[in-house]
Symmetry: C2
Subunit: 427 residues, 2 copies
């Protein structure tokens, strides 16, 4: 098949006519499909229902050191939960604080604390004229929402197939003391599914920040969220790498079991250096008496250990793999080589990212909506919701049934084609 | 019996000698007793073990409106939890946000948000030269820790048998725009067990703050924590009273089920006006995707409704009543009319507060410790840990067994007597 670029104007018009006929057929069906939500499906949630049974009323709710998990106490999490989460994110239990149900909440609190109290004795950010964050794009909209909420200036950093553009990161971090952090989703990134290369991680660990209170905000949201047993991405563990490089305090690692057990009812954690932990706990001890230890215990009793969790993630993968493969196949069959954009084939995570022709993303999302398919708003994966090229569209294949997903994907590629032709005809 | 003040120096010395003999006997037993912790006992926690069974794997975890509680969504809490908590604190479900496990955390977040973002459009407190809070004393140390953490100046307000000294509150609130809030535990207050009188609540609702962003921080921690079925304190519901007075935005009400179900594994909530809720949600939507709905559902399924909760609280009362009565009896038998201090007889809550002779509290707590009885540090119920009269001692009778408690109380009264005599001999 010819690419759109190779077609004559007449051929494009003819193709558009045919595509629109097909599009109208879908429209007339009054569909209501949704590819916008990075949520597990009900089938995935069913995998964790056993968690509801492990702590019945006949069970002793004490943890290994004898602490009664039902009562007050233990600010930073029960030890066995630290071991489990530590294995999950490849960090020592002593470097971990287990929080409540949301890693996003930990990140918010981390920024909020830095605003009011600084980082390890630095000037509170609210007392500074300007605070900046580096934002690899496309990225996770809720990260950007936090920094925007606190009036932090966000600087776009292009994502490369190896991760963020490290030349740019190194230069900005080294030369601008107002740069206090960078948002990273280093494995199966949201939305592209890119895993940072070994070199990228090593360069991160060796940053020479102008600001002493610069930290890497390493949101390892999809650390164990592989689609395949063998063909998995590998991510160099950054905290060990930072220690090796003599920068042990440089990174905060965030994680949760939201897409492992139940979103909203999982456990979340931070892993970082002893110095950072001490700084955090000064505030934490004022903020709370402690998090939900019963739920921590529930997770430990259910997964038992990292091997149990790995087995569990295989079951998630069995549900997700066909969905990802189906969407990727449709993209390949319908859009490969026609010159209407490109995409990555992620080996894990929750998203597929379509990069349309410049100036087409909003229109494609609108077109899809008019045929009954809800997509993540174009622009959402960018600071301030502004995609400078208007080309990135996030596809979330996890939540719909495979039948709905197939139809939604077919409508999506149709919209991509129509809008791309319109764009090319304009030029 | 003569009071200490009526005794001659010789009589006091003789009495002291006898008391010290008794004290040394206790010392030699190498006891380890603890009256410091405002924690439920294991027996109380057992009351809620049924909560572990209501959501088994065969159960549908959807709430009434069909929302799957296992997945993301619902920022402000499931409706049926709002109804339950609403009934518990006498507010409409629409005025409630259900949070995570800790009301302290909500209070912290409320102050933190005011620091960085102000209150309903006011100047963020971190941009102001001076922010002040009124602190009824004695009060809850963790309240004061929050305001201290944020560098907020704390002003002591004496507690009267009717609640805080409202003349002083009214004057400070009306004339000082730096005064942004007041910490209140209005029912069975920590540590005295005082319930604010109807007039006190009505005067609170009619405050005329100089600062538009002044709020009453109404920590209704012991709202349903009665010791008796009939002989209960009644607290006028402040939010309705504020509306009636034309000040609907004046109050934030905080509560949790920490001492109803499980401390650390309960649900916490705020109740306030629509305007305040809107202001809060602007931040909340950035901070989190949502709290633990499964745990909210677990609470609703276990308690069913407010009547179930009331029944449940009766069972707590049956465990707590003998402990409170025993300690109060020992105080009465040993300390009444001897001129060594006084105390309230609370009808609910978690504490008994002993007001010793001025300058004696630290020494009594130290004496108790040397005989193996841990008490809350003297000064703790005051801002900056400073009791200006060094006279207030918080007794927490809930956690120890009744046998341990009896021994601890006997040692305590002995310490009170010895230290009081020493004080009187000094003078």
């Amino acid at each position: 098949m010819k690419s759109f670029q190779e077609m004559t104007k007449e051929e494009l018009l003819e193709e558009k006519k045919n595509l629109e006929k097909e599009y109208r057929k879908y429209q007339m069906r009054g569909l209501q499909l949704d590819m916008s939500r990075g949520k597990p499906s009900a089938e995935q949630l069913d995998l964790s229902m056993g968690m509801m049974d492990v702590l019945h009323s006949g069970e002793d709710l004490s943890c290994e050191d004898g602490t009664d998990c039902r009562n007050y106490g233990v600010l930073d999490g029960i030890h066995e939960a630290k071991v489990l989460i530590g294995d999950m994110i490849e960090c020592h239990p002593d470097n971990i604080i287990i929080y409540g149900n949301s890693s996003l909440n930990i990140m918010y609190d981390t920024i909020s604390r830095s605003m009011t109290h600084g980082v390890m004795g630095s000037t509170p950010w609210c007392k500074l004229d300007k605070v900046k964050f580096l934002c690899p794009v496309p990225g996770y909209d809720r990260h950007f929402a936090i920094t925007e909420h606190f009036g932090i200036e966000m600087i776009n950093i292009p994502m490369l197939p190896t991760g963020p553009d490290m030349d740019m990161v190194e230069e900005l971090v080294a030369n601008d003391a107002a740069v206090k952090g960078i948002w990273c989703v280093p494995k199966y990134s949201n939305p592209q599914g890119i895993t940072y290369s070994d070199e990228t991680v090593r360069r991160f660990a060796r940053l020479k920040p102008a600001a002493k209170d610069f930290r890497i905000y390493w949101d390892n949201a999809y650390g164990v969220h592989h689609l395949y047993d063998i063909d998995q991405d590998n991510l160099v563990e950054i905290f060990a790498e930072c220690k090796r490089a003599g920068n042990p305090d440089l990174v905060y690692k965030f994680c949760s079991t939201s897409k492992i057990s139940f979103p909203g009812s999982g456990v979340a954690a931070i892993a970082t250096s002893a110095n950072n932990l001490e700084d955090i706990k000064k505030q934490l001890v004022v903020q709370t008496i402690g998090y939900d230890k019963v739920n921590q215990l529930r997770h430990v009793r259910f997964f038992k250990n990292i091997h149990g969790m790995t087995e569990h993630m295989r079951k998630h993968a069995d549900i997700l793999r066909p969905k990802f493969e189906m969407v990727l196949n449709i993209l390949k069959e319908e859009l490969e080589d026609i010159g209407a954009g490109n995409w990555y084939c992620p080996k894990g995570g929750y998203f597929i990212c379509y990069q349309a022709l410049s100036g087409c993303a909003k229109e494609i999302v609108l077109r899809a909506k008019k045929a009954g398919v809800v997509m993540t708003p174009a622009g959402a994966p960018f600071p301030y919701g502004r995609d400078p090229k208007d080309s990135i569209i996030r596809i979330a294949p996890t939540y719909p049934s495979i039948e709905d997903l197939e139809m939604a994907a077919n409508i999506f590629v149709l919209c991509v084609k129509i809008v791309s032709i319109e764009k090319l005809l304009e030029e």
